[in-house]
């Protein structure tokens, strides 16, 4: 609330600042890394890419480190697993730790004892935890009733789809040396990008009808101060151009550029949604 003039706080929608300004920008990256880590592991399981799983493991580690970097008391991080019954941050932190453990064991088994029942068991466990890592960030923001744009049942779904989209894009970049795999991933990415665009459109459309605060936030994204970020980075560079590129060609350079654009769009999506979150005025008189 510091930085907001009292009068504005009373009668106007005031943007949240704690999770986007200054140190708070790390939250946008934590949401992004969580989504892409979970998504990449899931699609790597599907396409059986060991490199993808390994990079997903690294990204899950980065998610936890980014979360911790945002804390003002990082040495107390272990306390964050103490309230899984009520707090989504707590649940997410547990998902990350369990994923790191399950995925590490799974990769070791796949490497040294592939084809065994144990590998299947740990792939299932790793997959469940990866899904948890991908979806928890959606619930972290979705649970916040005070910010109506975030308080939506669609947002966990959107974040999972965005995570899978980013995961496919990253897997496509990782696997450019394997033309068969990268082409298969590109085909999947084309379809998922369209689904992602539809989900995003539904999310924003619903937000304009949910409440005046959600509508205010949605308008900031669609035609307000966040419109350049949203239309240029999220929609044009993150969705439209990659779809066109992937339909037009499957050349290595095209796949790499399209993949990087999708990943950048994913970062911009989290930034836009966090930045657009506003609180209702204290006195709803105007």
């Amino acid at each position: 609330m510091i930085g907001t003039r009292p009068y504005e706080f009373m009668v106007k929608y005031t943007p949240q600042r704690d999770w986007i300004e200054g140190h708070g920008i790390l939250i946008a990256f934590a949401l992004f890394f969580g989504g892409i880590a979970g998504g990449l592991y899931l699609v790597s399981l599907y396409f059986d890419s060991m490199w993808g799983m390994f990079v997903a493991w690294i990204l899950a580690m980065v998610t936890g480190m980014t979360d911790m970097a945002h804390l003002s008391k990082p040495m107390r991080f272990w306390r964050m697993i103490l309230k899984p019954k009520s707090s989504w941050i707590s649940r997410g932190f547990i998902f990350i730790w369990l994923f790191l453990g399950a995925a590490a064991i799974q990769m070791a088994i796949s490497y040294w004892a592939g084809g065994t029942a144990a590998e299947t068991v740990f792939k299932v466990l790793g997959g469940i935890m990866a899904f948890g890592v991908a979806i928890y960030s959606g619930f972290v923001v979705g649970y916040v009733g005070a910010i109506k744009l975030w308080n939506s049942a669609i947002i966990p779904i959107l974040f999972v789809i965005a995570g899978v989209t980013g995961g496919l894009a990253l897997l496509m970049v990782i696997s450019v040396g394997d033309s068969i795999l990268s082409t298969d991933v590109a085909v999947a990415l084309r379809a998922v990008l369209i689904g992602y665009a539809v989900c995003l459109a539904i999310y924003l459309w619903v937000a304009t009808y949910e409440s005046t605060a959600a509508r205010d936030s949605a308008m900031r994204i669609i035609k307000g101060n966040l419109a350049p970020v949203f239309w240029l980075l999220v929609i044009l560079l993150g969705i439209v151009i990659p779809i066109i590129m992937l339909f037009a060609s499957s050349a290595t350079a095209v796949l790499i550029i399209a993949g990087i654009l999708v990943i950048l769009g994913g970062v911009a999506l989290r930034y836009s949604i966090l930045k657009a979150g506003v609180y209702s005025p204290l006195v709803p008189s105007e």
């Binding site: 009373m10 309230k83 707090s87």
Partner: protein, 215 residues
Amino acid sequence: MRWGMAIEQKRCIGCYECVLACKAEHFLPPDIFWNRVLIGESGKYPAVTKLIYNIRCNQCADPACVKVCPTGATYQRPDGIVVVDEDKCVGCRYCMIACPYQARSFYEDGNAEYFPGQGLTEHEKIGKTLYPHEVGVVQKCVFCKERIDAGLAAGLTPGVDREATPACVIACPTKAIHFGDLDDPYSEINQIIKEKKGKAFHPEYDTQPSIYYID
């Protein structure tokens, strides 16, 4: 027992005495406010209304901040007061995000002085010893729980006896702020809320605030 407040807005003259009393009581650092007086206008000429709201943590009966806290640092006492255990807070600020009333503050700059560049005043020096605030954690109004606890231990009644009543309540020169037990149907505060039709801010959030405002 559930402590609560009723604030009569027509009695509030916007003198900020409650803000200063809170600052002095808890030796609050610069830029940290556990309660605020918001003054503004509403409407268009000639139908203009002056707005004065004295706001602080609503000590909600079903607080969003307690639910989201991943460490249990924010918790609710049996008497309804929501407090932050500074030793457990990790500074993730999820509670600040979740509070629909934006009633929490983050203590970021431990070196801030009331008179920048001139060193700490005697009051600030004493405060750092008597009421040390941990840097990098979230803070909020606690209904002066120290006064309530000490008062109850001495057989006093919060809201009635000055020594057991929050500093902002006893500092108010117009007696605009009332304090008492919301669970006691015969308490003065419940009578005031009932007779004068006290309303809580944003009941739609379902947090059941313990502070009522009377137009």
